[in-house]
């Protein structure tokens, strides 16, 4: 195991997100069964895992949208599930979230979407808001699209606008939900560099949920691999690449056969086909 977890010395980065023994279920279906995970300040932490392992659910637990059945998710040292609405909103103002589908407000144009959190939380003069918004739009390459409505954007462009909106208030933590899905290679490269640059220059703590093993490996400081409601492996991308765990290797190489089930539980295939033919 790397220094990330085992050596919390005096100069070790501060823990900003700490999930301990988290259990969460949707109906009778358990999603997390004793999840332990730590995110440290100033680092890019990747959360990977097969579809349906609860990666997005983990983000919703971190932002306090849903609460753990048991266990504790602490953000900035506070149990996010125990916060009152006012405290929860104060904590959320220190976070930025990039949603998988962008989640842009469809009645506002690109400029107003990015300006929205600034207008809601500050009394900055319009001239300063304009500079802030244009700076962030320039960073994602969409300054020229400021007057477009969300319906006029492609999926990738919408994600980039959502990223500009997520960073406009200079949050301490940025949470990305599948940021690379559906991006063309140029946009993907730009977004990857942007995530890295914001982390390097502004020391923003980043949590990136993604399937994209190779892209993540180029920027992540630390990676968690989730499966069956638990962390099955963790370490730097290089450590995971060297891992001899069958689960890690199956995920890294994209194999259909292995400990991680590809097929949803079903009756015997041959028997079912025979039933149909009967």
């Amino acid at each position: 195991m790397s220094d990330y977890q085992s050596n919390p010395g005096a100069d070790a980065p501060e823990v900003v997100i700490d999930a301990r023994g988290v259990h969460y279920a949707i109906g009778n279906r358990p999603i997390f069964d004793g999840l332990d995970l730590t995110v440290k300040r100033g680092l890019i932490t990747a959360v990977m895992g097969p579809s349906g392992t609860g990666k997005t659910t983990l983000l919703r637990l971190i932002t306090g949208e849903i609460h753990a059945g048991s266990g504790r998710v602490a953000v900035f040292g506070q149990d996010i599930g125990a916060l009152r609405t006012r405290e929860l909103y104060a904590t959320r103002r220190r976070m930025g979230v990039l949603f998988q589908n962008g989640a842009l407000l469809t009645d506002l144009d690109v400029y107003e979407n990015v300006a929205f959190p600034v207008r809601e939380h500050t009394d900055l003069p319009e001239s300063l808001i304009r500079k802030l918004v244009l700076t962030k739009l320039e960073a994602v390459g969409l300054r020229g699209a400021a007057e477009l409505m969300p319906a006029e954007l492609s999926g990738g462009m919408a994600r980039r606008v959502a990223l500009a909106r997520a960073i406009v208030t200079d949050p301490e933590i940025l949470i990305y939900d599948e940021p690379f899905v559906g991006l063309d290679p140029i946009s993907l490269g730009v977004i990857l560099r942007l995530v890295k640059q914001m982390n390097d220059a502004l020391k923003i703590t980043s949590v990136v949920v993604s399937h994209d093993v190779h892209e993540i490996a180029t920027i992540a400081d630390y990676t968690y691999l989730l499966s069956d409601g638990k962390v099955v492996a963790s370490g730097t991308p290089a450590e995971l690449a060297r891992s001899d765990s069958a689960t890690v290797q199956q995920f890294m190489t994209g194999g259909a056969e292995g400990p991680v089930r590809f097929h949803y539980p079903a009756p015997d295939y041959a028997e079912q086909l025979m039933e149909v033919s009967r």
């Binding site: 589908n101 407000l105 469809t106």
Partner: protein
């Protein structure tokens, strides 16, 4: 009690409780929302101004039909000079508030439900919550207040246009004296009648807007779920309008 009936009663109790809690949260959110008049004015425009054409056309035709029907009835008793009175009271106390409410539910109530439902389905409400912006305050309360303000205004317009329509038929085509029509209408209408119409329109506006935003906010985030919520808005709004109309009429009599 059969199992089905028990489930039905439990569902009714659950739904009533959910709506009551939602209403209390909405009332709490309305106070800060009043400090953002721009959002409310935008919703008055969306729900009210955009319903103007349908309200004015319906008001005109309703008034014209009233003019014809009342003239035919009053003519049997040689009392066509009472046309202004009959039309004014019918429009002011009943048809204005009720028809405007039913039209508003179909035109603006459904739009409110589907808009909020789509915002839920596309994570816009979640995005606001995560940005520490309360959607109740930013999205739901302005739409509720917009509807609450728009319905009485639309009712007033419906009633005025309806009176004009009745006058058009009664005076211009059927020959009732112009002066008698208006003086009868004016002398027969008391402040109590105007109050009845205003109270009804405010209550209908509040109930329809509450049903519309509640259904949208709690709709299942799927195309089918939003469709069902929109239908529930029209059905519940229409039934509640007619039910409350009876209750309010009984109170005012």
């Amino acid at each position: 009690m059969s199992n089905g009936a028990r489930v039905g009663v439990l569902e009714l109790v659950r739904k009533t409780g959910e709506t009551s809690v939602f209403f209390l949260r909405l009332l709490a959110a309305c106070i800060p929302a009043l400090g953002r008049p721009r959002l409310i004015i935008a919703q008055i425009y969306n729900a009210g101004a955009r319903s103007l054409i349908i309200i004015m056309l319906s008001g005109l035709f309703t008034g014209m039909v009233l003019g014809l029907q009342f003239y035919a009835v009053l003519n049997r008793f040689g009392a066509t000079e009472a046309l202004g009175t009959a039309v004014a009271l019918a429009l002011l106390k009943e048809l204005g508030p009720v028809l405007t409410a039913l039209l508003f539910a179909g035109r603006a109530g459904t739009a409110l439900t589907s808009e909020i439902g789509l915002m839920r389905a596309t994570d816009q409400l979640t995005a606001m919550e995560v940005m520490a912006v309360d959607p109740m305050r930013h999205v739901v309360a302005p739409r509720f207040l917009g509807g609450l303000i728009a319905v009485p205004l639309l009712t007033a317009i419906f009633t005025v246009v309806g009176l004009f329509g009745a006058q058009l038929i009664g005076v211009q085509f059927l020959g009732v004296d112009h002066g008698i029509f208006w003086s009868q209408a004016q002398s027969a209408v008391a402040l109590k009648d105007v109050t009845e119409g205003v109270v009804k329109s405010v209550v209908f506006g509040a109930v329809i807007s509450l049903i519309a935003v509640n259904e949208g906010y709690h709709s299942e985030p799927t195309a089918e779920g939003i469709g069902r919520a929109t239908t529930r808005t029209v059905v519940a709004s229409s039934v509640m309008t007619l039910l409350l109309d009876y209750v309010l009429t009984a109170i005012f009599l």
